[in-house]
């Protein structure tokens, strides 16, 4: 919106200082937790890490609208920020990347990033890209059948729209006006494949073909995502159906700890995007509007770092599951 503003953006969105600080904390907690995950990987303690750095604004801006434990979430492997907003903890993350018994996502069975928590309605996720979309549509249908106003948030990277499951779910959501939000974090790459080799046309524009709104937002601008998601959640709760949000962003780290991104992208490009890092960008906004000064920032960061360190220590000291347990729980209701 280029037009002159009479109120500042966050006020237009009905957000006050504490709301903004909450958003900021969410983003920073996500970043610090992610950074610590890499450290544990580099130390040889975590076999695998998949990172969300650069995508915190998209995740926090959207997830803030969720009602934890009521709405359902079908996250993808980079959605650490989303899971933290609704109540997962850095401890959960470290238990997961270290594969410990207490890991709520799978007790050490699953790779990191395959989130699950029953009481938060974070539905167990996995590696095959895109499988969550029809599931999310089904979950939304159940809400609708019971006349409840629950919303389902699902999403993935831009490449997750290339598979059939995404399309089938979009179609189903459109036919039945289902309360589901598709949040596509278009971070420019699918491992090495650039978005122009992945996506013909435009993801956001496709929604129209299914008869519901699709919006493209600056995914590194937490307020822009917040705004788009606000509308989407309200629409869904009013029973008006799905929304597609394409958040344009960038994956700041390699695809995963197994990847070397120098094979396929230029460091100049990465540097360019580093300047658009959503966290400093939001810090600037907060400073500009007198909501947070450097000292406050510092103290929030210290607090978060302490929490993260403690969580990491806890997870390192935690136990693995009993190896014999691998044969248990194959079938529900007693093997």
């Amino acid at each position: 919106m280029a037009m002159e503003r009479t109120r500042v953006r966050h006020e237009e969105l009905g957000l006050d200082g504490p709301d903004l600080i909450r958003l900021y904390r969410g983003m920073l907690l996500t970043r610090r937790t992610d950074e610590r995950s890499w450290t544990l990987n580099r130390q040889g303690k975590a076999a695998f890490v998949v990172s969300c750095q650069g995508q915190e604004a998209a995740q926090i801006g959207a997830a803030t609208h969720l009602r934890p434990g009521y709405d359902y979430i079908y996250p993808y492997y980079r959605d650490l920020g989303i899971t933290l907003v609704v109540g997962m903890t850095p401890r959960d993350q470290f238990l997961s990347i270290l594969g410990k018994a207490e890991d709520p996502s799978g007790g050490g069975r699953q790779m990191p990033g395959h989130f699950s928590k029953r009481d938060l309605n974070i539905v167990t996720s996995s590696a095959p890209i895109g499988v969550q979309y029809p599931q999310a549509a089904g979950t939304a249908l159940a809400f609708k059948m019971r006349d409840e106003d629950g919303v389902v948030l699902t999403g993935g990277g831009e490449a997750s729209t290339s598979g059939g499951d995404w399309h089938e779910a979009m179609n189903m959501a459109g036919i039945h006006d289902l309360p589901v939000i598709f949040l596509i974090q278009n971070n420019a790459y699918a491992i090495s494949v650039p978005a122009e080799k992945q996506v013909a046309g435009s993801i956001a524009k496709r929604a129209e073909g299914y008869g519901f709104p699709g919006v493209e937002v600056d995914g590194n601008d937490v307020l822009a995502v917040y705004e788009a998601a606000k509308e989407a959640f309200e629409r869904a709760r009013r029973g008006e159906g799905p929304t597609l949000i394409e958040a344009k962003t960038y994956r700041m780290r390699a695809h995963s700890s197994d990847d070397d991104d120098r094979r396929y992208r230029e460091s100049a490009e990465i540097e360019e995007w580093r300047l658009k890092d959503p966290i400093p960008r939001f810090e600037n906004y907060l400073e500009e509007h007198g909501i947070m000064d450097a000292a406050q920032r510092e103290s929030i960061d210290e607090e978060i770092k302490a929490e993260v360190r403690e969580a990491s220590d806890y997870a390192e000291a935690a136990d693995y599951a009993d190896p014999e347990s691998i044969s248990r729980g194959v079938y529900a209701g007693g093997n």
């Binding site: 359902y72 890991d103 709520p104 996502s105 799978g106 007790g107 069975r109 699953q110 395959h114 699950s116 928590k117 029953r118 539905v123 167990t124 996995s126 095959p128 499988v131 979309y133 029809p134 599931q135 999310a136 549509a137 089904g138 979950t139 939304a140 249908l141 159940a142 809400f143 059948m145 019971r146 629950g150 389902v152 059939g164 499951d165 089938e168 779910a169 179609n171 189903m172 036919i175 729980g329 194959v330 079938y331 529900a332 209701g333």
Partner: protein, 328 residues
């Protein structure tokens, strides 16, 4: 008690579960007004409404995926795959997703979903309306694959499957839908979903079979007894995965001669697994090779009648295999 064919029994099992539990629902292609291409869901939409009996788009991955999503949000969906031949697009949602939700979440997320799929050769059905797809699914821990062959069992097992907290693939031999009739109990009953069944006791040979071939085998067994004095024990696995090995092994040990028969292409079939179980677990009791009978390793039943007839395992094939084994 009323005499019902397989189709009616399945219909009634479904309807009864829907009546007694409002979270039970049906989704699939043409399950609504049309009542399914075989009419298994006939009348259900009129009784339960357009949402609980929902016509879906033509997208099997969506059907199963949505059923998973329904099942984790309070529902007990029964998804219909119009023909088993069209289940491959849903393969990922079944084997990678439904079958693993519970295990991978360390017991947090159950998927109480049932997938019904008509399988087997029918005249004119040809390569894509005839297949026996069970082997594709019988290497997937977390999934149940059921293939009952009698109306009463089918009704009871479908009810059990719907109540079971695990994803169940429920295979219905479509050639037997109207062919096989039996007295079926009207009120509530269920049948265990993890037990094989000895349909007929015998002492000379064991035949393990399901689907149409089971019915051939039972008929042939009578004939063997009458015409050749050969006593045949006939075992139906009921659950193809996981297998009730104990019942199969007990019979193998009793007779010492085992024939495993099904309509599927022989190599890589579920019969192979059953034979392997016998070859390991009953070796010391065996008096003959573990034999298998099945379709040749050609894609599937052709359209032209004479070709189809050459392809399928017929009654005479079952008889010949029995005689051969008994005389070994």
């Amino acid at each position: 008690m009323a005499t019902q064919n397989l189709l009616q029994a399945i219909h009634d099992g479904l309807a009864e579960e829907m009546r007694s539990d409002e979270t039970v629902m049906v989704l699939g292609e043409d399950v609504g007004k049309a009542g399914g291409v075989f009419r298994v869901t006939d009348g259900l939409q009129a009784e339960f409404g357009e949402t609980r009996v929902m016509d879906t788009p033509l997208a099997e991955s969506l059907i199963v995926g949505a059923a998973i999503g329904l099942s984790v949000n309070g529902m007990k969906p029964v998804a219909e795959i119009q023909f088993a031949d069209f289940i491959p697009p849903a393969f990922d949602q079944i084997v990678s997703e439904a079958a693993r939700f519970y295990y991978r979440s360390n017991g947090a997320w159950e998927v109480p979903m049932t997938i019904r799929a008509p399988y087997g050769v029918v005249p004119g059905g040809a390569l894509y309306h005839s297949q026996s797809v069970e082997a594709y699914f019988c290497n997937t821990p977390g999934l149940r694959v059921l293939a009952p062959s009698f109306p009463a069992d089918a009704k009871g097992m479908l009810k059990s499957a719907i109540r079971d907290p695990n994803p169940v693939l429920f295979l219905e031999h479509k050639m037997t839908y109207r062919l096989i009739k039996q007295d079926v109990q009207e009120d509530d009953f269920d049948v265990p979903i993890d037990k094989a069944k000895v349909h007929r006791e015998g002492t000379d040979i064991t035949v393990v079979a399901y689907g149409l071939i089971l019915h051939h085998a039972l008929e042939a067994a009578e004939k063997m007894e009458g015409e050749h004095g050969i006593s045949v024990e006939v075992v139906e696995p009921m659950s193809l995965y996981p297998l009730d090995k104990e019942t199969v092994l007990a019979s193998a040990k009793k007779t010492g001669k085992v024939l495993v028969a099904s309509e599927a292409n022989i190599s890589g079939s579920v019969s192979g697994e059953i034979a392997a179980v016998v070859a390991d677990g009953a070796f010391e009791w065996l008096d003959a090779p573990v034999r298998r009978l099945g379709a040749p390793d050609s894609p599937a039943a052709p359209y032209a009648k004479p070709l189809m007839e050459r392809f399928v395992v017929g009654k005479e094939d079952v008889e010949a295999a029995m005689l051969d084994l008994a005389r070994y």
